[in-house]
Every structure is written in C-alpha cells, then in structure tokens.
C-alpha cells in the first residue's frame, strides 16, 4: 500500500466508485421507473415506457395516483397486516430455526442425521405443489384460544404465521453458519458446566449476528411477498396482506399509475427493514470476524 502514490490512490478510488455506480444504475432502473411512473397519469406513463422519459420526472406530475390508490385499497390495513404477520413470523422463525440448527451442529443425538436430511429435502418442495393439501389440513385444524375451542384456522393471522415459522432454508442457513464457529468454545463452556440453553444464549447466538441478519431479511421478503397462501386461506378483507391487495388494481383497464404508487408505498417497509438490519448487524460485525 505504502508504495502507491497519493495520486494513484485517488484515481483508483474514483475508478472504484465509477464501477460501483455503474452497477448501481443497472440495479436501480426498474425501481426508478416505478417511482417516477407513480407520479404520472396512465396515458403518459404508458407512452413514456419506450424512451428514457420513463426514468425522468417529466410531464404532468402529481400525487393523484397516491390519492386514488388509497381510496381504491385500504392500504393502511393491508400494510399493517403484512407487517404484523411478517414481523411475528420472522421472530419466531429465528428462534425455532436457530435452536434446531444449534442442535444439529453442536449436539449428538439419535436420529439427528435423518431429521436433518428430511429438513433439507423439504427445500425441494415448491410451495405451489402442497398448497391444496395444506389448505385442507389447516381448515380442519383445531385451535384453543381466548375464544375457546375452535376447528379451522381460516381467516386469521395465525394461519398466515404458524405454517411459515420453520423452513428448511432458514435452518440450513444457520447450520452452515454454525459449522464455521469454533467448536472448542462450546466444549470449553460445557466443561465449565454451562447448560445447553446457556451455551445457545450466551455463546453461540452472540456470535450469530451476520446469519441472524441474513435469515431475517430473507424470511422477511418471503413473508412480505406472500400471495398464493393468503389468497386461499383468507376471505376477509380485514386480514388481507399487501400482495393480494395488488390484485385490486387489475381491472379491465388496468390502472398502471396507481399500481406504481401502491408498489412504491408497500416497498418502503421492506427497504426500511433492510436498512435497519444492515446497520444493526452487518456493518458492525464486518470488522469482528469470528473465524480463527
């Protein structure tokens, strides 16, 4: 490093930013298109799609689409439902999946390898292919809650949450990450007489920042973009999430401008979540690498 002159260093720095920015443009353009279009009336929006105007705030701009979209769809309710369902699922998922992964990686027990293989095999099952059997299952599933004993989970938050808590991918993420943690740490704690729960809480999870962030983001995306499942298990508007709400705009003459406005609104929570996580975990962990 020391050999590089100051000028050279500055030039290389600029080049880095140029490369980063060029790539950024490639990743940004559909979103810029989405946001810009959300301020344009339908006809202009569609005409602009064939030129660079699609990305520019030009022409007749207004917040009309936002106003119309929010009177067409109860955006507040839908975003609330999605955020609630997503938030609860992500939390429970991190817990259940990290516990399971912890057990698979650090503990020896009968049946461990068989169970792990089954879980990994479930990664292969696309949700679309089990949706109907699952629907039949939850429609007959009992529940004991504040209201007493009931049969059937349809039209609730729980039907959108519980089946999605555990999944092979999240467990797999944790497993692969845990494998990279130094095993002597765990054995040492064991020798000192720590219980498994203590080791999980005090030794392993504090080191799991990056994977928690990754798993949380990925799970958040899966849950926030749920479409087919809520479509078939929720028949009341009160419980509908945002992606089902998107369907409200596909009338015979599709209101593209309003769609763009709606999409812009519903994208905000996801970006916010990602940015918060990125700050909270990734940035801080980056400098503390844990592997020896």
């Amino acid at each position: 490093m020391a050999a590089i002159t100051q000028d050279n260093h500055g030039l290389r720095l600029i080049m880095r930013y140029v490369v980063l920015t060029l790539i950024a443009i490639i990743f940004m353009f559909p979103l810029v298109f989405m946001v810009m279009s959300s301020f344009k009336p339908d006809l202009q929006l569609l005409r602009d799609t064939s030129s660079i105007r699609a990305f520019l705030p030009v022409g007749d701009l207004s917040f009309d689409n936002y106003r119309d979209a929010s009177s067409r769809v109860p955006i507040g309710t839908f975003v609330f439902n999605s955020v609630l369902v997503t938030g609860v699922t992500v939390l429970l998922s991190l817990l259940a999946c990290s516990l399971a992964a912890f057990s698979f990686v650090f503990l020896n027990w009968k049946g461990r390898d068989v169970l792990l293989s089954i879980i990994l095999a479930t990664l292969i099952v696309p949700f679309e292919t089990i949706a109907i059997p699952l629907l039949l299952l939850v429609s007959q599933m009992p529940w004991i809650g504040l209201e007493g004993f009931q049969v059937g989970w349809l039209n609730t938050y729980r039907v959108q949450i519980i089946p999605w808590i555990a999944d092979g991918l999240t467990i797999f993420l944790f497993v692969q990450y845990f494998k990279d943690l130094p095993r002597d740490l765990i054995e040492a704690s064991r020798v000192e007489g720590a219980s498994w729960l203590q080791i999980y809480l005090k030794v392993v999870m504090p080191l799991a920042g990056p994977v928690i962030a990754t798993a949380a983001i990925l799970k958040f995306l899966v849950m926030y973009n749920q479409y087919l499942w809520p479509l078939i298990v929720v028949q009341q508007e009160t419980y509908r999430p945002v992606m089902v709400g998107l369907q409200y705009f596909f009338q015979l003459n599709t209101a593209w401008g309003e769609i763009m406005a709606y999409l812009t609104i519903i994208t905000v929570p996801v970006l916010a979540f990602y940015l918060v996580l990125q700050r909270a975990f990734i940035a801080s962990i980056a400098s503390t690498g844990v592997k020896g």
Partner: protein, 419 residues
C-alpha cells in the same frame, strides 16, 4: 381474563342488538368487485336498500379482486367455507353447479322473462344464476377510418363477410397509416381468449366442443371448419395483420386511441374511453365467416351456494336486486349492457339513441353463450393455449388435434361431466 371475555361478549351482543331493529338472520355474500369503487358503491346501495326493505335478512358483502376471485371461491369450497350468496362468471357456473357448490335459484321466473339470454344461467334444466347485466364485444373503429379506406359500413342486417373483413384489413395495411390493421387484445390472457375468439371459430362452423352431446371435441375443434379457422387465425399474425401474444399491455389499453390500430376487437367496457377520445368512434358487428356473425355472451351472475342454510333469503335478495333501477345503475356506473329493454331505456348510453345502444342490439342479434358444460373451464384453457400456439406459428392441424385429445381425455376422466 374470563371476566373480561364475558364482558366483551356482552358488549358485542348489546351493540348488535342496538344496531339491528329485529332478529335478522345474516346472509354472507361474496363479490368479485374489490378495487372497483363505482361497482362497490352500487352493490352496497342495493344491499342497504334490501336490508332496510324487510326485517328477516341482513346481507353482508365481502369483496374480492376479480383476478383471483375464482381461486378464492374454489379454495373456500374445498375448505367448506362458502358464503350464502356468491357471484359467478356465466361460463363457469355449470362447473360449480355440477360440483355441488351451487343450489338452484328459487326466484319467480316470470321476472326474468324479458331478460337477454346471456344473463340467464341454466344448467341441467334449472336456473342456477342470474346476471344483472351482459357484456358484448364489437369491432371498434372510426368513421374517418372507414371513409379514408373507402369501406362500406357493415350493419347488423348486412355484416361484413369474412372476405370483406380481410379486404378491410388489407386496405388498412396498404394505407401505411397503422402499425397494425387489427388489435385483437392478445395481451389479455385468460378468459378473454375463449370469450372473444371462440365466436370466430363458431362463425366458421366449428366449436370448442360438440354441443350436441358435450362428450367430445372431435370434429368440432379439429374438423374442416376448425382447420379453416385455424389457418385464417394464423394468417392474421404471420401476415402482420395483428400483434401477437407478446403485445405490449400498454398498447392494448391505448393503441387504438393513439391511432396505432385501424380496428380493435374490444368489449363494451372499453367503449366509453374510445368514444371520449374520438367522437366518430363506431362499434361494428362481428364479421360473418359463413355460419353467421357471432359474439360471446354472459358475464358475472348471482347464485346461491349449496352451503347456504337460508336459500330463501338468498333468493329473496337476488330477486330484489333484479329491479330495473339497479340494472340501469350498473350500466350507468360501469358501462355494462342492461339485460332488459325497460332498464336499457333508463340508462344514459343504452337508450334508443344512446351512444352504446348498438351493443344491446349486437348482443340481441349475435350473442352465443360459451359451451354450457362443467368441462368448459378446462376446454377454455386448452382453447386459449391452442390459439396462442397457432398465433405463434404452430402447425394448425397438429395443435387442434392435441387440443381435442386433451379436452376428450378430460371429459372422459370426469365421467362425461354429467351430460
């Protein structure tokens, strides 16, 4: 906790007692119009009027987005969760009736005597559903276009023949003023294909399924008439008369208005937009390819689910909704075709001199419902794919043969669908 619960229950009970004058039975109703405010307002108006008009029933509406409505209903039926009243797309009705999702209506049939045939949903000799409107398709163009191309204006009595139609497309193509002579709306996938295009096949003399037995598609969908239709259909795309399956959805919405197309095959719901853009917009009848000019019929209709414990209440609501003023309200609100002459007279656009009166006449003169069979749902899908494939250059005879095989296998696997 227990106390809180009891208190809460008491509160809920007292509120509902306060809001309802008498012990009304609640009827749940599902509707496909979520996201369409105008439609929702009209429907809610009818529901409010009905609830106020008598003391036995209260109808409560739950709206669904149209795109996924059928999936929602099928899922609910599988899970045993259907409401009392459901609306159903006309051609799908036999499928749901046959599957046992619907029970026959018990309304006084004298009320619907004057209705257009499309909105009346009969299956197995019984009335299962009734529509508050119909929908129609026309060949949309402009008087100035016809004049510039030197074309005769076709009428209901004298529609264009197939040759005249093709000559019109040739003239439009030769003029060089249009990107494509004809816009068929290939960008709209799904039910639009069988609804809008199977009438062409029927005008050629073919059909999606043999309507004399409903037990086979052999001969109907791959006979000489169907082959002639298929060849013609393919020419539309290979010769550049119409944009194909990859048509930009934006062009479907605005292409005709922008002057990209000379003719557009489009529904009455898009008519007001075209009229507003160009004063001289014309709605022409379908061309006659030999077996008479044909267009599709039947739109959304109301029915009573088999799960309903109060079919008499559900039927009472449907009967109530059939009043002319409501039929007219739907027409004025969302441009649909009123199903009776009396209600048509009350509307803005379908009265004797209304701008869209031609659609009423078109429906009356040319409409043919899609095959009335539970197998239609599958037949429609197969037909859609066959048409898309042929448009993209697939061998016509092979494609239609394959479609016939698939439809026949399906009919067989369903034990003939009760025919």
């Amino acid at each position: 906790m227990k106390l809180g619960l009891t208190f809460g229950a008491a509160l809920v009970a007292s509120v509902s007692w306060a809001s309802l004058a008498a012990a009304q039975t609640e009827l749940s109703m599902w509707y496909h119009g979520a996201g369409n405010e105008v439609e929702a307002n009209i429907l809610n108006g009818i529901v409010a009027d009905f609830n106020a008009s008598q003391s036995d029933w209260t109808v409560v509406v739950e709206s669904f987005p149209q795109e996924s409505y059928n999936d929602s209903v099928v899922a609910a039926a599988l899970a045993g969760n259907l409401p009392d009243i459901i609306d159903v797309d006309g051609p799908v009705m036999p499928n749901w009736a046959w599957s046992g999702y619907l029970q026959p209506l018990t309304i006084d049939e004298s009320i619907i005597e004057g209705f257009l045939p499309g909105p009346k949903g009969y299956w197995d000799g019984q009335l299962y559903s009734i529509g508050l409107w119909d929908a129609a398709v026309a060949l949309v163009t402009r008087q100035s276009t016809l004049d510039a191309l030197g074309l005769r204006t076709p009428t209901l009595d004298q529609p264009w023949t197939g040759d005249e139609f093709m000559a019109a497309l040739d003239a439009a193509k030769a003029s060089g003023n249009y990107e494509y002579p004809l816009d068929l709306g290939m960008a709209w996938t799904g039910e639009w294909y069988p609804y809008a295009f199977s009438p062409f096949l029927q005008s050629f003399g073919g059909d999606i399924v043999d309507r004399s037995t409903y037990l086979t598609a052999e001969g109907a969908l791959n006979g000489d008439a169907a082959l002639a239709f298929g060849e013609w259909w393919q020419t539309l795309f290979t010769e550049g008369y119409a944009p194909g399956t990859s048509q930009d959805p934006a062009d479907r919405d605005t292409g005709f208005i922008d002057g990209k197309y000379a003719f557009s095959w489009n529904g009455n719901w898009a008519a007001l937009g075209a009229l507003n853009a160009h004063d001289d917009t014309l709605f022409l009848p379908a061309p006659d390819f030999g077996n008479g000019p044909k267009i599709g019929a039947a739109s959304w209709q109301f029915g009573v689910s088999s799960a309903s414990e109060h079919p008499e209440g559900a039927s009472a609501f449907i009967e109530f909704a059939l009043q002319d003023k409501y039929l007219a309200a739907f027409s004025d609100g969302i441009g649909l075709i009123p199903p009776t002459t009396t209600s048509a007279a009350m509307t803005e656009n379908y009265g004797p001199d209304g701008a869209m009166a031609v659609f009423y006449d078109l429906t009356k003169a040319q409409a043919l419902v899609r095959p009335v069979t539970p197998g239609y749902v599958v037949g429609a899908k197969v037909f859609e794919k066959a048409l898309a494939d042929i448009a993209n250059g697939a061998d016509v005879a092979d494609t239609l043969d394959a479609a016939v095989d698939e439809i026949n296998t399906d009919i067989e696997r369903n034990g003939g669908y009760g025919h």
